[in-house]
């Protein structure tokens, strides 16, 4: 933020911020669509839209992209009218407004590709202007102060009122110009710090970014005009804005303001918004990753410290005081970790902002009427998880509209409402897991059709059905549709949710009534709470979240099933497979026990007393016998990326403080690989 002060830096920031506002504008417009069609008011959406476009306009003006300013300005005018009409958008306004957003998006994309932004299409501007006539434009009354028109025009009704009232109450109003320069930026003087300093000596009515000719004084071609009310002396104010007292421009009252001018509540909210905004910092994810990486190193050092303390204690030293400090340090590290993890969280609501647009587009293409309900509450996800899971959500939503929902005619015939419902909901199941559901009220999954298509027997359980659906390349539609017949299917969803994120995916479907896909995904993936244990002389860790229970077992007392490896009928392949026919009884249920050392090709210890780690895969419990448990701790998991070491059952490595990698096992996947192998289905 400090050294390079160039327009290019602004543009990158502009693109990112504009995209966010445009996404939210799209979402608001779509959520208002139905009400607008019925002529109902949507005051919240209108205000949010206004705010988004207002910000986009301001930002575009800052980087000097006039076409975007023009479109945003025309849209803003329509929205201002709507706000004055108690939030009622004129009928037929959704399409032109969406077209406006699309045109701005095109402009932003062109900017991102460093291409020139084409001028705002006149048809679009005319269309937007027509909406104003429809709405019955009351026009903006003439200026009430000596504030230059270009600044007065940027003030909302409430801001004008604020300015006028301040003047009427005898306060001084001033326009202060701040010119950002590289030198000032290097000294920490930027618009944010100026705004803060001004706020302490004055009441800021508005900060208006202005594009000015680039000169030695204003190398960025950018200036900020701060309209303020203040009782402080010129010297104090000038100093706060890094300017000279003679540069200040006083504002006087000219004609009395008309009271009905201040009817709009928009202004207040905008001020709140502008002030609130100063509490946010946009941070590159890379920087957060970096902080986390540094913290990871610290966590490893903490483990080593712990080991040294244990070694000291064993050698007879008095380590009570040291152990206390190390313990305290550990707690502080956990707090720091939690703080960094919180900084990486993004709201699920924000993540799903584009989904309404997808549904709208799909229902157009497919001719199906679809309504989307999103209920995310305040749920948040780690940025890395959010980025990975988003394509899976999009895929499920697409499937719901494209495959699950019936046509309006079919729905009418089935006695259902014509408009199909797709809902996305989520809630935090625990402090490290999120449950996310995508459901529809469509036709349900036809198990027989899926089976026929896969050339397999009709699945008896939802899990088996999901297994079939998740076979690569399976599509239940005969023709390749434009939207979801592109060869990606449920296998991708499962790979993301289960294999990449180590979560779970399940399915519930009722013929004629609908389908619900449920995803259980971890809130974050980099640091996990894990059990460490020894097996076959090697140390491993397994995430606590995947373990259902740990109990003692005596391998001589397990129920032994037939050992097909040694059976006379065993095929050569079978002989090498691990023994998987032992069972233990657990709450009245027979649970298979697998000797993990055997499974991993490691030597077995000379005792039959073991610990059993019980995990669940596809609803079925598995027990893995290991030598002994070591403990529980938070570990930093590094994924194994190279093909040489990407094997089933190993999800990554961690450092327990001994400077060598320890494998993080995915026992559920190990159990699953066996299960799949035993059914003879290629994995």
């Amino acid at each position: 933020m400090s050294d390079g002060f160039e327009a290019a830096d602004f543009i990158v920031g502009f693109i990112a911020e504009a995209e966010e506002h445009l996404a939210s504008a799209n979402a608001n417009l779509l959520s208002a669509e139905e009400a607008v069609a019925k002529g109902q008011p949507t005051p919240r959406q209108v205000r949010d839209l206004f705010r988004s476009l207002h910000t986009v306009k301001g930002l575009a003006a800052m980087v000097g992209v006039e076409p975007i300013v023009d479109i945003a300005h025309a849209m803003e005018a329509v929205l201002r009218d709507a706000d004055r009409a108690a939030g009622r958008l004129p009928p037929g306004s959704v399409e032109p407004l969406l077209a406006g957003i699309r045109a701005i998006e095109q402009g932003v994309r062109a900017l991102a590709k460093k291409k020139p932004v084409i001028a705002a299409p006149q048809t679009l501007l005319n269309g937007l202007a027509d909406l104003r006539q429809v709405a019955g434009d009351q026009g903006v009354s003439s200026a009430a102060t000596s504030l230059p028109a270009e600044l007065w025009g940027k003030l909302s009704a409430a801001e004008r009122e604020q300015l006028v009232q301040g003047l009427e109450a005898g306060q001084r109003a001033l326009v202060v110009q701040f010119l950002p320069t590289p030198e000032r930026a290097a000294a920490g003087v930027n618009i944010t710090s100026v705004r803060e300093r001004m706020a302490s000596v004055s009441e800021i009515v508005k900060v208006v970014p202005q594009s000015v000719p680039a000169t030695a004084d204003a190398p960025a071609g950018l200036a900020f005009a701060l309209v303020v009310l203040s009782a402080a002396s010129d010297t104090v104010i000038a100093e706060a804005a890094a300017t000279k007292p003679e540069e200040l421009m006083p504002v006087r009252l000219e004609i009395p303001a008309s009271p009905e001018e201040a009817d709009s509540g928009l202004g207040d909210e905008l001020i709140d918004d502008e002030l609130g905004r100063s509490g946010f910092v946009r941070v590159e994810v890379k920087r957060l990753d970096d902080a986390l990486e540094k913290l990871s190193a610290l966590v490893v050092t903490q483990f080593r410290l712990g080991r040294v303390v244990v070694a000291l204690r064993e050698s007879g030293a008095d380590v009570r005081a040291l152990a206390q400090v190390v313990g305290e340090n550990g707690r502080q590290l956990r707090d720091l970790r939690a703080a960094i993890m919180r900084a990486r969280m993004v709201s699920v609501a924000e993540l799903l902002e584009r989904v309404p647009l997808i549904v709208r587009g799909l229902s157009r293409v497919t001719g199906k009427a679809a309504r989307l309900e999103v209920a995310t509450g305040h749920a948040e996800l780690d940025k890395a998880v959010a980025e990975r899971i988003f394509p899976a959500i999009v895929h499920l939503v697409r499937n719901a509209v494209d495959h699950a929902l019936e046509t309006p005619e079919e729905r009418r015939a089935a006695g259902k409402p014509e408009v199909g419902l797709v809902s996305v909901a989520c809630f935090e199941r625990s402090n490290n897991q999120l449950e996310l559901t995508v459901s529809d009220d469509g036709r349900g999954v036809d198990a027989a059709a899926v089976a026929a298509r896969a050339g397999a027997p009709v699945p008896a359980t939802p899990e088996a059905l999901l297994d079939l659906l998740a076979r690569p390349g399976l599509s239940t539609k005969t023709e390749v549709t434009k939207t979801s017949g592109r060869g990606v299917g449920m296998d991708v969803v499962r790979r993301i949710a289960v294999d990449e994120l180590r979560g779970e995916l399940s399915l519930a479907t009722t013929p004629g009534q609908g389908t619900t896909f449920t995803l259980h995904i971890p809130l974050s993936i980099t640091i996990v709470d894990a059990f460490s244990f020894v097996c076959g002389g090697e140390t491993f860790v397994v995430p606590v979240s995947t373990v259902e229970e740990i109990r003692e077992i005596d391998l001589t007392k397990t129920v032994r099933g037939p050992d097909r490896r040694k059976s006379s009928r065993a095929e050569p392949d079978r002989r090498r497979a691990p023994r998987a026919s032992d069972m233990i009884e657990r709450r009245g249920q027979a649970v298979p026990v697998l000797a993990l050392d055997d499974l991993l090709g490691l030597p077995a210890p000379d005792t039959s007393l073991r610990k059993a780690i019980i995990v669940r895969r596809n609803g079925e419990p598995f027990a893995f016998a290991v030598d002994r448990m070591l403990g529980q701790q938070e570990v930093v998991v590094r994924p194994l990326e190279d093909a040489l070491v990407r094997v089933t059952g190993v999800s990554g490595t961690t450092d327990l403080g001994d400077g060598r990698p320890t494998l993080v096992l995915d026992l559920a996947a190990l159990g699953d690989s066996l299960f799949v192998a035993s059914r003879g289905v290629p994995s």
């Binding site: 190193a297 296998d491 991993l600 194994l640 040489l644 094997v647 059952g649 190993v650 450092d655 494998l663």
Partner: protein, 145 residues
Amino acid sequence: MNDLHVLCRVAESNYVVSAADVLQMESFAGATKVPGAASEVAGLVQIRGRVVPVVDLRVIFGLPAIEPTMDSRVVVASIGERTVGLLVDSAREVLKIPAAEFQPPPSVVAQQTEGMVKAVAQVGTRLLMLVDLAKVIGGEQRDGE
């Protein structure tokens, strides 16, 4: 092209790897085994905070693996976007070998070694074999793609 090469010994033979591909050389005292990985994968080692898979050149070249000795080295090489350690019996010398001194291997050798020996050079009394790193560590295959 860089003329510098790292000389590695595997059994009685001398191999060279272009120094441009070598990130560092580390002594070797065992690695974390990865169950289910190919037999030439000696395991994982942690070198300066990063976890690197190590392949045993002995196993790749069809020789029995040996217990690590004081001389055992992991030559950490960077191949495209991958970082892989090569376990060799020793790696002590860095030699300057101009590109002109390399000759293609005899065709029968090229065939027998499946291209792992890219070229040979006679330096003094020693015949050095230039290793094709990509061939040695195998292609990167992403699952499901």
